[in-house]
Amino acid sequence: MELDTVLMSRLLTAMTLGFHIIFATLGVGIPLLISIAEFIGIKKKDPHYRMLARRWARGFVISVAVGVVTGTAIGLQLSLVWPNFMQVAGNVISLPLFMEVFAFFFEAIFLGIYLYTWDRFKNQYIHWLFSLPIIIGGGFSAVFITMVNAFMNTPEGFAVEDGAFTAVNPLAAMLNPATPTKVFHVLSSAYLTCAAILAAITAFMILKKKTSDYYKKALKLTLTLTFIFAVVTAIAGDSSAKFLAEHQPEKLAAAEWHFETEEGADLILFGWLNDAHEAIGEIRIPNFLSFLAYGDFNAEVTGLEEVPEEEWPPLWVHYMFDLMVSIGFLLPAIALLYFFLSKLKKRNEHNKGMLSLIVLSGPLAMLGIEFGWIYAEEGRQPWIIRGYMTVEEAATSSPHIGLMFFLFLALYIVLGTLSIVTLRKIFKDNPAEEELEKQYPSVKKGDES
């Protein structure tokens, strides 16, 4: 019974976060893309881009709504499901949580203004300016919540006396060693994912024979941004790995099936483990783990042998890490291929195969987010606050947690289905061509610009 409540608590939290993170990621990244499109539109006096911003914003509202309600759910669930964790950690880490609420507040206010004032100002830049606080608000909510998560991995800013946390220093807790790389990687991957998803949607529309200048411009813009953010994300991911090697070596070792501390460690991709903890069928890149961890092919990398076995993270996180990294290389490759084809005069970069690949990159990016988080969270096991409190000690003792899990499962199924249905309807009932004509009668339909 005891173990069951812990397991159900973990499943409930994982499910809520795994669902929330989809909408949270969109909430962080989409405003930036909307803002860029609107700015280009005003600057170039090109209604296509402004229409792009408008239509993205319209879809964004649905994702915000689900983001807000699932975020409210996870905020309350942290206390409901992990009361012992919040009682202890609340003393040290409530400052960023509190500041996150201000970031939301700020974002919510300006989102309301932005969405309902498209044609209210003569100077179009005024409306565009309202997009900036939304980007800042969304970005900072990610920064603050990631600080909380960083604290769980490398807790700092307090002393322990008789089992209680004392001498609290909230700023030191916020600026713990995990914060810089984590914040960098979370933000860059959110922007990457949103660019890839919007590119995917555009490619999907073109595939359905809606080739027009409007869509071609959209595709070029989103793929350019995908490529840029993918490069930034890879750099950020690399610095995350360097951080792990230094401060949380067991997480990196578990991801790499690196059991013995050694110099010139190999990078292991995929494969599986036999009973003697040896990798089979893997792809091995000599000395590359040392490079990933320290930027030096001969550096020494700490292995799992230095950690007591009952504190090992589950070894299957290896696959999560590999999948994330593979996606990290695939996404910029797809974008590059498109630009390569468009440079070749003879090739049509809007062929079926190319477009299908782009359609694929949207879901892939979101999977990258999910794999990354599962890796980060499972890689912290068995700790909830690394070195201080285990997941088991933190969970609620309520026997009803299992029932709650199924209630929330039903809720998320309904919300997920209805968001997709609603989004499809919004855009189906209101095709871009018609809307362009209505809003900007001076623009002709079709291929001119």
Binding site: R58, V61, I62, V64, A65, V68, V69, G71, T72, G75, L76, Q77, L78, S79, L80, P83, N84, M86, Q87, V88, G90, N91, S94, L95, L97, F98, M99, E100, V101, F102, F104, F105, F106, A108, I109, L111, G112, I113, Y116, V168, N169, P170, L171, T396, S397, S398, H400, I401, M404, L407, F408, L411, L415, L418, S419, T422, K425, I426, D429, N430
Partner: protein
């Protein structure tokens, strides 16, 4: 110099009061929208309701998030006691909030109007205040027990307690009253006379039940928590002011003029009652487990939170003023011309 604990609880109580007002407007409006649809009066008021609600519903929700994040921050013990005890009612409230928030967006932006969405939107508008009010009832003590380190909620006591039912009743009636008065004011600004007529009737209708429910709750509280009741009697003047503002509001509504003043009176009515109740609760946050002084967080965190709060307000107040100016006090917008 006030201590940070007192500043903390005061700030949180003010935000809870803010939520009480803005959420009541929102919740009640949902119910009236549904009611109007069923009685085929929706063409009269639903335009009015959606013009106000669309830009601000997300802001309403943040008031609530602010409160529960803040209370866990200032008083981490409350996460432990309330968190352990409230798993089931809290989860139900979350689900209701989720249905309400997302279905509002699905209906409003998803182009198709559906009676099911409107029903869910209206029904949750009454169920959410009812389920949230459980937390206030619990704070009176006697419903949460701690045995061998396990905190649990006494469901039977809760469901058979006249106090808890009277609090539920009070919360529902108040929602309808506050909302109706606000909509009356909003309709009068929009110069939308058919709508004004209808919502003014709602407001007058719900005024009497709201004061009766308040008195009933007062009586049941005296039987449940003598200490709190005595404290409240010592603050008799606050409740007196509350009743006076109630009468002023009803009188203005009855006369059919100065609806803005009427709404402000209702806000003051609830302000004094809510603060009278809250101050009477002192020093307990959760009777008898959490008291303000020994339940508070570390001083360094408390001071950091207060500082963050002041910084946050400097950012938010100008933004909120801008929002209100653009949507609430821009006569052209309210009239639907923008």
């Amino acid at each position: 110099m006030m201590s940070y604990e007192i500043i903390g609880i005061t700030v949180l109580w003010i935000f809870l009061y803010g939520y009480l007002i803005v959420a009541s407007v929102d919740f009640g409006a949902g119910f009236f929208a549904y009611y109007a649809k069923v009685t085929k009066q929706d063409h009269i008021i639903n335009q009015l309701i959606s013009r106000y609600l669309s830009p601000v519903w997300e802001v309403t929700n943040v008031f609530f998030v602010f409160f529960f994040v803040g209370i866990v921050g200032f008083f981490p013990d409350s996460a432990y006691y309330y968190g352990s005890a409230l798993l089931v009612p809290g989860s139900i409230a979350i689900i209701l909030l989720a249905i309400r928030g997302s279905f509002y967006a699905f209906e409003n932006y998803g182009s198709k109007q559906s009676i099911v969405y409107t029903f869910l939107y209206g029904a949750t508008g009454l169920l959410i205040p009812a389920s949230l009010s459980v937390a206030l009832t619990l704070s009176e003590g006697g419903f949460i027990v701690e045995k061998n380190g396990v905190v649990s909620l006494q469901y039977q006591e809760l469901f058979t307690s006249p106090l808890s039912w009277s609090v539920v009743g009070l919360s529902i009636v108040s929602v309808l009253f506050i909302s109706a008065v606000f909509l009356t004011f909003y309709a009068s600004r929009a110069k939308d006379y058919p709508a004004l007529n209808l919502v003014r009737k709602f407001a007058l209708f719900w005024s009497t039940p709201s004061i009766i429910a308040a008195l009933t709750t007062f009586i049941f509280l005296s039987q449940h928590n003598e200490r709190h009741y005595q404290n409240m009697l010592d603050l008799w003047w606050m409740f007196g002011l509350s009743v006076a503002f109630f009468m002023a509001a009803t009188w203005l509504l009855y006369l059919g003029k100065n609806y803005g003043l009427a709404f402000i009176s209702v806000m003051l009515q609830y302000f004094f009652a809510f603060f009278g109740y809250g101050i009477g609760h002192y020093p307990y946050i959760l009777d008898p487990f959490i008291r303000i002084y020994d339940g508070a967080t570390h001083p360094s965190m408390g001071i950091a939170l207060v500082a963050a709060f002041i910084g946050g307000l400097l950012l938010l107040i100008p933004s909120l003023i801008l929002l209100i100016k653009l949507f609430l006090f821009d006569a052209e917008y309210v009239k639907g011309k923008k």
